[in-house]
Symmetry: C2
Amino acid sequence: MMISMRSKYALKALAFLARSKEKETFLIAELAEAEHIPKKFLEAILLTLKSQGILASRKGPGGGYSLAKAPAAITIGSIIRTFEGDMAPVHCLSEQARGGECPECIDHATCGIRLVMTDVHQALASVLDVVTLAEMVERSDFERQKLSRQLDYSI
Amino acid sequence: MMISMRSKYALKALAFLARSKEKETFLIAELAEAEHIPKKFLEAILLTLKSQGILASRKGPGGGYSLAKAPAAITIGSIIRTFEGDMAPVHCLSEQARGGECPECIDHATCGIRLVMTDVHQALASVLDVVTLAEMVERSDFERQKLSRQLDYSI
DNA sequence: CACGAATCCTATTTGTTCTATGGATTATTT
DNA sequence: AAATAATCCATAGAACAAATAGGATTCGTG
């Protein structure tokens, strides 16, 4: 149930963009270096995020990538779905299989696995579709502040 | 985030055993045929479940597999963990990495991804560690009854 | 003890996905 | 035109998933 490196790198790059107040637009190379992501790999990831309307880009000198929406309007779920597909634990709950069954399913209507996995799917979505990129960055900042306070006390 | 065929097959076979009142012990071949699972593949799966203390087996004539505990004492989470590992969405939340970091992590303490994924992990566990094999079968039976009632009305 | 029933074990195959890279192309600014 | 930067295309290598093959081991029974 691990998320892929793609998703992680996407989250890192997007968080970096959301955190940056000074500048709006960054080069692939800048993002790659800042977050320690293989540049060529990140390139493909950013392109995918653009195709999903999460990022915007401009070519040529002065170009680069920037967020297409406010961080508060980007859910973590929408980012992860971009790379992991809908997060259905079983095929029959996937949107691609519109109301369809798992290939190996014997009795779709009474399948206990489907019934339980529906709850799992719901639990996942209830976190990922609610938390936004903005909140993720806020929580990170909050931890940072906590740490620096602890450092102050210890001095 | 899909579970593997292994996990699905395991759930199917275990549900079959939990549902069976007449008999306690079944041959691999019986389980394989009943649930449409490749026999050799199922063989390996059942062996793994045995190593986790979920199944018991006896060799030789009259042998076969049976549940090692009551269905109400087997959580769906324990079954899935057998094949998917702990269900940590990121490496740093896995038990193998005891308090460790993701290999690519820059600042573990303030990592926003980790903070959000902790919630995800929690949400997953809150379903899978609570629902048991017995409950899964009950829910399936309940759906079956609903359907047969609908059939009665329509006649 | 010998035989057959059944699980147990090791290895291999096959296909797919994940991670990553290289090289050529297109758009934009100066 | 020249430089800059994203874009597109192709593919290699590793890891993993699903399934299969073949034999080894254990157990009950005649």
